[in-house]
């Protein structure tokens, strides 16, 4: 195929297909199967579209959509790290993900690759309103899945309510309104035995 620029873009697009094979620890709601990163990323993007009004700060929806669409691309090389893994596992993850980002966004024409790399760094840093809201979506979605599968992944790993509240604190930084909703879900999950009391 000729045409360097389009060829590079297609190469990146083809690489993305691999994300459909990266399994997360979250169970799908309507099927007894783990969700993969592509499904998860799509779900976050539609959620951002639907829930944008609940952001505490004004946000540029397009930036949020871009971030959630590409936030897990690094897992093609780095794999999924479980949310409740220990700190050492999370530090190793950071190094692997940085290398993955360099390689994968590096497939694109230079300026375009840099743009996506910067968006990914912004997502990871959670220092802008868009990144905070994107992070809130990234936490809220698996929490909903856990609640609606009667705590399936929580039970697999004997997670406590305290761990869930700690892990999901970024939701409060993106949306006080959603955080109130989350507190109700967590209380109800303990009440129903989906989640161990702390």
């Amino acid at each position: 195929m000729p045409e360097n620029r389009l060829t590079k873009q297609v190469e990146f697009i083809v690489e993305l297909d691999k994300l459909k094979g990266i399994l997360r620890r979250t169970h799908k709601i309507n099927e007894s199967a783990y969700e993969n990163d592509a499904e998860h990323s799509w779900h976050l993007a539609t959620m951002a579209l639907i829930l944008q009004e609940h952001s505490d700060e004004a946000i540029d929806l397009t930036r949020v959509l871009k971030m959630v669409l590409i936030h897990d691309v690094v897992e093609i090389d780095a794999g999924d790290t479980f949310a409740y893994d220990d700190d050492a596992a999370h530090r190793k993850k950071e190094i692997r993900e940085e290398q993955a980002a360099q390689r994968i966004f590096g497939l694109l024409p230079k300026r375009q690759g840099c743009h996506l790399y910067e968006l990914w760094r912004e997502f990871e840093a959670r220092e802008t309103p868009e990144a905070r809201f994107a992070a809130a979506m990234d936490r809220f979605q698996p929490l909903l899945h856990n609640y609606l599968t009667h705590g399936a992944a929580w039970k697999d790993h004997e997670i406590t309510a305290e761990q869930v509240l700690e892990r999901n604190r970024p939701i409060a930084e993106g949306s006080k309104h959603l955080w109130d909703y989350v507190l109700q879900i967590v209380r109800d999950s303990v009440h129903r035995g989906y989640l161990r009391d702390s």
Copy 2:
């Protein structure tokens, strides 16, 4: 759960999970499995992000992203119709999908549901630059998959090059540049025996 508005939005978000179980006839590139609608929709959205510069007309990326994110939601009720099914199957599909759109977008708060319903209609009609570009992505993605899986789905259904060109004509309406690329892929697919000559 209290709070009518957020509750409705969450109900819609939970409903969306079902799209992860709607299988298409397209094979994934890196796995011997059919792709589902959620994976497909995510792939289209990232493609729109990467390939927007190839649109023949100026487009509002956010509108394109919204369209591709929700374009297959109706298949939760209506199922997937194979691209190469006959006209009668496609007419039946239209009726089923209209009913599905009414029910599923109807889960949302009224104005928000109407907004997404209108975007879905716009996508289906292919009369705006955004809808044309979104449709180009929706055709280009499975074509790439077919090419890179050595014509897997084409062979399953004994599809000819003529059928592929006819089916994918909307790509030419969204991007002449991508269409040129598609013509090369189709020629090469015939040459390699992935696709029957017309």
